[in-house]
């Protein structure tokens, strides 16, 4: 491995190379003092360089051996994932094809035409993540990142009311008589709302989220409504856009893994010319379509709304009807059981 791949500043690297230290092995036998006097830098910096060099060297050597640091066996991952709960969408047909709901530790992208109910689904999930444990929920909190200004707080209140009345009517598993009845406003208090006004703010916020979630450990879902908006307006440099977006996706995936939370990205649609015809497709281009773990497309089928799993490593491609009612996302009225497998 070469010195030029070390994460050090350009001028220090230049000093190293001009003094003849081009490979990591040439650094391995040096003491910090030697290096410092040789290339005329403070001893503290020399110490840093050697630390980095030996760290990188180790990674290089352990290739192929069993104890790769940072790895996890598939069995451990299975055990860990079994403990995770899904966030229900309040529509049983949709939960069914999703294997119980939106998964934690995964990034899920949901897209569709205007008015199909993306924001509604987003608000519904922000409420549903708060369903208490005794009703099969996560009893957690939500972060809602609004880039479009389409979050309607009156609507959130309606959905919260409907959600509360739904599970208050059910018999409780763990009887807890002393527990005070929760009010719709309590649910609203558990939604942290960020209004983002430019793509720079969006990047900054995602950078900062890790710290925020460390301070608010109960957060189990991050909803971005929509990931697209600021990247679609006023963006001339497409290469920059692709790079910024893939960086965002990586950071969100890291968040999902680190804090075992669900990340839901809402996306818009655009038109694309393929196979001799113009089709609808989710926005942001082909490279973005690889970025998310799951991709769900909401679409119209006649006068019914359908959700279609377009991409998922674990789920079968399927579509299920749902409807948007005054209470939020619910089962489609006309048909409760039909799940079409493709």
């Amino acid at each position: 491995m070469e010195v030029s791949r070390l994460a050090i500043s350009a001028s220090t690297r230049a000093k190293l190379i001009s003094a003849g230290y081009t490979s990591l092995s040439s650094l391995s036998t040096l003491s910090p003092f030697n290096l410092a006097t040789d290339i005329k830098i403070p001893e503290k910096e020399a110490d840093e360089i050697l630390k980095l060099a030996s760290h990188n060297g180790k990674l290089d050597n352990t290739k192929g051996t069993q104890a790769v640091s940072g790895g996890q066996t598939a069995w451990d991952m299975l055990k860990e994932d079994e403990g995770l709960r899904c966030i229900t969408t309040s529509c049983s047909a949709l939960d069914n094809i999703l294997g119980g709901g939106i998964n934690c530790k995964e990034v899920t992208e949901i897209g569709g035409v205007p008015g199909i109910g993306k924001t509604q689904l987003g608000i519904q999930l922000a409420i549903n993540v708060q369903i208490p444990h005794e009703h099969g929920g996560l009893a957690a909190k939500a972060i809602y990142i609004d880039t479009e200004g389409s979050f309607m707080v009156e609507r959130a209140l309606q959905i919260a009311e409907a959600c509360l009345s739904d599970y208050n009517d059910l018999p409780r598993r763990g009887c807890n008589a002393n527990q005070l009845k929760r009010q719709p406003k309590d649910l609203l208090e558990n939604i942290y709302y960020f209004r983002v006004c430019s793509y720079t703010e969006q990047i900054a916020l995602i950078n900062y989220l890790g710290k925020f979630i460390k301070e608010h450990k109960e957060v189990k879902i991050v909803i971005v409504d929509s990931i697209t908006f600021h990247f679609r307006q006023d963006f001339e440099n497409m290469a920059l856009r692709t790079r910024l977006l893939s960086e965002l996706a990586l950071k969100l995936m890291k968040l999902a893994n680190e804090f075992k939370l669900a990340v839901v990205l809402l996306n818009q649609v655009t038109t694309k010319y393929t196979e001799g015809a113009v089709h609808l497709t989710l926005a942001l281009g082909d490279s973005w379509s690889h970025a998310c773990t799951n991709r769900i497309i909401l679409h119209w089928n006649g006068n019914e709304r359908y959700a279609y799993i377009d991409k998922s490593p674990t789920l079968q491609s399927a579509s299920a009807p749902y409807s948007v009612t005054g209470k939020g996302i619910r089962d489609s009225v006309s048909d409760h059981k039909r799940v079409k497998l493709m």
């Binding site: 500043s9 200004g149 609203l188 430019s198 720079t200 960086e247």
Partner: protein, 355 residues
């Protein structure tokens, strides 16, 4: 906050000087680069760059609020009522009280359906004194197609609020609150938008109407990326106007006919079951809103105006590619075509929320 200066973020002096020396002035400059690009550019180590980015991100990112505090602000602040009532019972109920503030509401419909009439009525409603259920405030009316008729405005006023408009000087006061701008081109429109931003800060403007967005664009631009980009700036700007001043913004949009509906399908859905050519109704009556899908995503609420056997309907949030002459659900309608000429006062029927 994207243009916040790095020098004002209280970074350690040494590193903030390096940022300045490399001409990285704002948060936008820094956050558009990767860590490694920054290391190259600034000639500092990874840990310094990482901590600087973390610091800049934390300062640049907007503050959070809970949905509860958002709701409290909406419901308690009397200077900024959450909605402008349209006085159409059915529509008000479907919209939770009227045209909402702080977001874009779009009116879509064919020519002659009454989009401009609706806008005139709305501007009157906003200029009415609060005792009559209005907002008692100024209105900015951007009239692109030169359709604004002050005569018609007064006529609507006299017929809807006779007692008020018969008072001496009231008509003058009402009409005096409505400021009409008539930009002739997109660049003039852009200019007036920027002026509006200033006047929104100084004056008591509580409603912004743009009639219509389509005329500006369709005249000057061909279909294609240049048009999309042009609009992109306007969408963001108008949205931010609505948001920071917390006023309702109403825009009108025209319809275009579309002869086939493949554009409304995803590739996984396969071709339409009906077959485009065989269905005779599709060829003549398939109307869609103009300005394309990017625009449609940007508006928060879309109201579709349409006429069915002489009656006028307003629907909210329908399927965008719906044939406009077959409504799935109607929110409200006006009793007869003739009455519309005197005032748009629609009576509500069969209304329930569904988005």
């Amino acid at each position: 906050m994207a243009n916040m200066l790095i020098s004002e973020m209280r970074l350690p002096k040494s590193i903030s000087n390096i940022f300045a020396a490399r001409n990285l002035i704002t948060a936008k400059d820094v956050l558009s680069l990767t860590e490694f690009e920054l290391m190259e550019l600034l000639d500092v180590g990874l840990s310094e760059v990482a901590s600087a980015i973390a610091h800049i991100s934390e300062i640049t990112c907007p503050p959070y609020q809970t949905a509860l505090s958002l709701w409290k602000r909406h419901s308690e602040n009397e200077n900024h009522p959450g909605h402008l009532p349209t006085h159409l019972k059915g529509l008000d109920a479907a919209l939770c009280g009227g045209i909402p503030t702080g977001v874009l509401t779009e009116l879509v419909g064919p020519a002659g359906i009454g989009k401009t009439q609706f806008c005139l009525k709305l501007s009157l409603l906003a200029s009415l004194p609060t005792t009559y259920g209005g907002l008692g405030a100024k209105v900015i009316y951007i009239d692109v197609e030169s359709k604004f008729s002050s005569k018609r405005l007064i006529e609507i006023g006299f017929n809807s609020f006779p007692e008020l408009f018969c008072m001496k000087g009231m008509a003058e006061e009402m009409a005096g609150r409505i400021i009409v701008l008539q930009p002739q081109s997109l660049s003039e429109f852009t200019e007036s938008l920027q002026q509006i931003k200033v006047s929104l800060l100084q004056q008591q403007v509580k409603l912004l109407i743009v009639d219509s967005m389509t005329a500006l664009v369709s005249g000057e631009y061909e279909q294609g990326p240049s048009r999309q980009n042009q609009l992109g700036w306007h969408i963001s700007f108008i949205k931010s106007l609505a948001e920071f001043s917390q006023i309702p913004v109403v825009m009108t949009n025209q319809v275009r006919s579309q002869s086939f509906d493949q554009i409304s399908r995803y590739s996984f859905e396969g071709p339409s079951q009906f077959g485009d050519k065989e269905d005779p109704t599709r060829s003549d009556s398939h109307l869609v809103a103009a300005l394309g899908i990017n625009w449609a995503h940007a508006v928060t609420i879309r109201l579709v105006l349409e006429a069915i056997s002489g009656q006028r309907f307003i629907k909210r949030n329908v399927r965008p590619s719906n044939k406009l002459n077959t409504p799935s659900r109607s929110w409200c309608h006006n009793p007869s075509d003739a009455k519309r000429r005197s005032s748009i006062r629609l009576k509500g029927t069969e209304v329930y929320w569904s988005k």
